[in-house]
Symmetry: D2
Subunit: 399 residues, 4 copies
């Protein structure tokens, strides 16, 4: 049985949709957001289920459309729009509505972990967010030491790959002459970034994250640099999960860097290999590894850091495939899908606990070469072909 408060919230949702009382639509949207915010997790789950079940397609309208003009599938489309989509659009009209909807979807995603049947409702959010957070509406900003502290604080909080340990660490990443940080913003979220990428300007392709993050290090002036290294990419808004900006971000940053620093010739990542160790252990268990590599895994697990990890990694990257056909590694899927190529493998590149747990410290570079990016992308996305440098390809063939 629904509680009175919850009855209320659906009544208001219906009122908001009915357009009766359009004049107070903003007020209604605000009330819905406020009531929603006070719901317990269980009630939130119930809220979402009810939206899915009772705010779906209006069957009468649908049947009418279907009967009246069976030929026009376009009409069918309009007639079959779930009411929840219109509801979300109307909620968005309230001041601060977009941010509240993003946070609402964050709750929905938690609910979905236990109840995957909520997916149809999430499809509505996702459909609208994809439209609203269309690349044409995003603004790229360079973040530096003149950026307001309130935004910098969020960068510290949102960094998800290589933790920023306080303001001095942040200062090294945004204010050093050979460091850059770029973020996408959306006008409706004001000063809350969507995603950002950290860039190191270097004189060669790096094989080690510790050197890049070191507090004491030799600094280049931008015009001494030949290489831009994307060493950390972080999504900031959980509620926008699955709405992809990363590919646009990297490509636009490459353009921006090329324009500002004419001497840059190489654009490359320094990336983790999050799935390596668990894949290798599973292979080991299944006795699927050649003896030599089996031994490498044993050594790695024992804390040694054998050079042959490169071969194991190459094999993981090039030979192993996900059930849907692409690369097994999620980070690889992202960069290969963008048209990058797997360039180098570095066995002792990340001494952090996290890096050890994921891949015994192995990191890799993906190369963004604008001349071949398109061809690579197509080869990967249509034929599951994994593009790698000759060095890496040779490593994968070692027995």
């Amino acid at each position: 049985m629904k509680s009175a408060a919850q009855d209320d919230i659906f009544d208001i949702c219906e009122a908001l949709l009915s357009g009766k009382g359009e004049a107070t639509g903003l007020a209604q949207a605000r009330v819905i957001f406020d009531r929603y915010a006070r719901l317990t997790p269980e009630k939130k789950h119930h809220f979402f289920s009810t939206l899915r079940d009772q705010f779906g397609v209006d069957r009468a309208k649908f049947e009418a459309a279907y009967a009246r003009d069976a030929k026009s599938l376009r009409k069918l489309h309009a007639a079959s729009e779930p009411l929840s989509q219109e509801l979300i659009r109307r909620l968005n009209r309230a001041p601060g509505g977009t941010l509240r909807l993003v946070s609402m979807r964050q709750d929905l995603l938690s609910c979905m972990e236990k109840d995957p049947e909520l997916k149809p409702l999430d499809d509505d959010f996702r459909h609208l967010f994809s439209s609203w957070f269309n690349r044409g509406f995003l603004e790229l900003r360079s973040i530096d030491w003149n950026t307001p502290a309130s935004i910098l604080e969020k960068i510290i909080r949102y960094e998800a790959v290589h933790e920023i340990r306080g303001w001095s660490d942040l200062r090294r990443r945004v204010a050093a002459p050979d460091r850059r940080l770029y973020a996408f913003f959306h006008p409706a979220l004001l000063d809350d970034p969507l995603i950002f990428v950290e860039v190191a300007l270097t004189s060669s392709i790096p094989g080690n994250i510790d050197d890049i993050l070191a507090s004491e290090r030799y600094m280049l002036t931008p015009d001494q640099a030949s290489t831009a290294v994307f060493y950390s990419i972080s999504n900031c808004q959980d509620g926008l999960r699955g709405i992809s900006f990363g590919n646009f971000l990297i490509k636009q940053v490459v353009e921006e860097l090329q324009r500002d620093f004419g001497k840059l010739t190489t654009f490359v990542t320094l990336s983790p290999v999050p799935g390596l160790r668990s894949w290798a252990l599973a292979q080991q268990e299944a006795k699927a590894l050649p003896e030599r590599l089996d031994k490498v895994v044993q050594q790695a697990e024992a804390g040694a850091n054998p050079a042959e990890l490169s071969e194991l990694t190459a094999r993981y990257m090039l030979v192993s495939r996900s059930p849907r056909g692409g690369a097994t590694d999620p980070v690889a899927r992202f960069h290969l899908g963008n048209g990058a190529r797997l360039e180098q493998i570095h066995p002792s590149a990340d001494t952090s606990e996290r890096g050890q747990k994921a891949s015994w410290g192995v990191m890799v570079n993906y190369l963004y070469d604008l001349a071949t990016i398109e061809h690579n992308h197509e080869a990967y996305s249509t034929a599951d072909e994994i593009i790698a440098s000759p060095v890496v390809r040779r490593l994968a063939k070692t027995r």
Copy 2:
């Protein structure tokens, strides 16, 4: 037969949609916009027809969805999305894409005048524009004498009701102590306004537009004013026709003015009555007018300005109805639909040629009273009840 250039444009549209070549999606969108811009009007029309016919719902996908899960109408909705919608979304990713799409729709609307069958395609534009130009994404700005000239120039150009005759006239409307101008902007259109409203601060409800526009007049300080008069509302973007912002604009401006000028008690329009004369002449022709009013029409046509025009106007506003049930007058439909009430009628309010042609110079006031706006709106939108002040109601009853 399609020309080579046109084949091209559809091929690129398909490539953009296919996602093969996602990496160059922005480039493709740019090419499509550029080629489109060079098409003749006929070719543009053909472009739109082809989008409608060949970029509609993917029937195979639809049938599959329908067969596989007849119960899930939500899936049907997704499956029946016209390809043209996704195409528009992808075009929007290009730099300046939103503005180019708005201008593309302007062309589409011209084509539709001759070929109403293009409406299904326009529905796609309209659907996406409604979502993108959601009130939550709009920004209200006050326009004054510190606004860049490039924006002020657009205000001069876009004013559609009472022409702005040069910069001195503009200055009187934005820089006088008792005048204000507010506009909605969308982040993706930068400094191009969507709609704006001009406001006069006065000491009473005005019955004459000439006094408000006069170049020499007594000026109030804002704290002497009791009344805010919305004397001109102009939509700026033809390509956004039918995407409604006006109601939001007026309500937000009322809030803004209340906050800034505590002494304001009355919010009212001074509006044209564009349909009065043509309605009256048609009534006359149909011998549907009482003799007394028939005579009024004759006098008015002869250039006299009888006081009884008020009665005729009251009758037009309150008695006459559009086929769909609401008010006949388009401006009345807008304000009544917003919950305003018809407050006063002024027979000799607008001496301009345009005003004479439309309504022999008659203008009216609609009152925005936040306390009753909601109730009025509902009465009008659910029961076609036209809310008017007692004075106006009495006038309508005169025989």
Copy 3:
């Protein structure tokens, strides 16, 4: 006899100086400004005379300093500072004080026209203004079509050489691709410019102002231009007369243009010759002209426009000297003093009434060549040598 109100103003001046009541110093400054503003022109004159006479050097303090330490002339300097200087500094502390002082000096300059004995007081203003409007405190801004209308309006008003006839004319001067306008601003005067220069980008040295100001003309893109023409320089603040910014302005604009448009090779003015006609008529009267040139003057006065005006002008520019030794022409003194060289002479360059009256329409170009500017300046300022191109020098030698 002094009126009560005037006694007051001096009492407050004394109170402001005494520092007794420092806490209300700002209030006192405000009162002085306000009372001052209400004075009649005569009272203003009296105000200034009193400042000069009663707010001069404190004789007791001076004698003490002089007696105690005859050697230290530095101390003498401090001891001999007129009280009026400290008064002006204290007035400047009030909000908006700087602007009010500038306008006060404008009044003082009018008074001085009738009463040159006020000069010592003006020296105080001039001394402090020179210090405050030091080049290091000025900000160069480019004025274009995105500049607020309130500033553009001032540009229209302040243009003193070639009148700007309304907003369309202004638009042609700031928004055309081959036109630029730069102004110096001072932080304490906010959005009120001090001086500005208008620049035309052209493909050759122009000989005619009408072509530059024409409403219909062929426009260059900036990269087609080889020449930047400074065709109008206007001082905006009468109250800053004699505080020189013009030389700094031109040199900084040359640097700015060189940086932004690499293809520019020539920087040149198109300048009036305001003293030509009156000089020539005086020469004629004094029978000091060779017969041939005497005839040229007669023809010019009769409305003809003989080509020999070039020779007359060359003679005026190169041969005639001011009593103090420099060039006779005030505009020539400015540009030659900056290190420019007289480059070309154009007989029919300015058809405006003003141009006819001043010089029968003759205009000239001064060339700013950064490589020789320093040498030219020194030659002119130390040896009164007037630097001119070979062509002009030859013209001057014609008999």
Copy 4:
């Protein structure tokens, strides 16, 4: 004997002054700054002595003025201006000149510690800086969490009273709802603050700095506060020592706070008493203290914190006088000179080492009451009367 490099620098100074080569004046100023920056401390000292000795008053010009017009002391003033003043003005024209001059004076002040004879030169700097940093040219800015990190970093560095221990501490002082920070900026120093004051909004007059600085504390909303406490005032630019902005800052901040938070009724400092302990120890040594207070000093030195410290402090503040007549305590001189009144004395208010060393932890409040500020100021500045609350006056009378 002067080194070649130094000869050079004076030659360039003379060239800059001579105006010969005015066109390259900026370049010369830059060279002087650059050479100056490379000088050793000894050479800098020599640089300053030479400026004092050889760039003083031009004796010939002075004698001429004196002889020619003995009556006009104004002329004498102009004639006796040290060349060094004009030199400083010309140096200021270079880009960034003001900041470099401020830093040059910082060096001069160090030199003066060893060589007080440089004071006449410092008088020149001081005279010009007083004029340039006139209150009318200063801009008050509120510093908060939206301020760029580059400015916030300077606030951390410049805080001179209660050290800011890192970014979390800073955040508590600028981003808490009941904390504010205001700073004066000068346009020519861009984002480098001159002086700032930290403000706590509280519900009563505080008697303890630790409570205000505590990392965990109860926070008020601004509308709950009745009292604004100025708990720290820091000068930022050593090179501007002696150029007073503090009094203007406090008064303008009081006005700002009154406007923004209507409920504030009390404006008060929480201030250190830096001279208390050294004065008391000197008094003790001189046997000038009554026995009871002598014992208090002994106890305080022994680490106890007797309540009678209040009496000792009251005596120090009210009875002891500086040789020149004002209060002995430098902080007292500042606030009493501004017209504040000594309001309360708190014996155990500051547990920091610095506070213990200066005053055994005693702190006091000065009250800024706009209604009496003027009267207090005058009483103090003309009659050396130290204005204190009745409570404090009573304490001072205790034997």
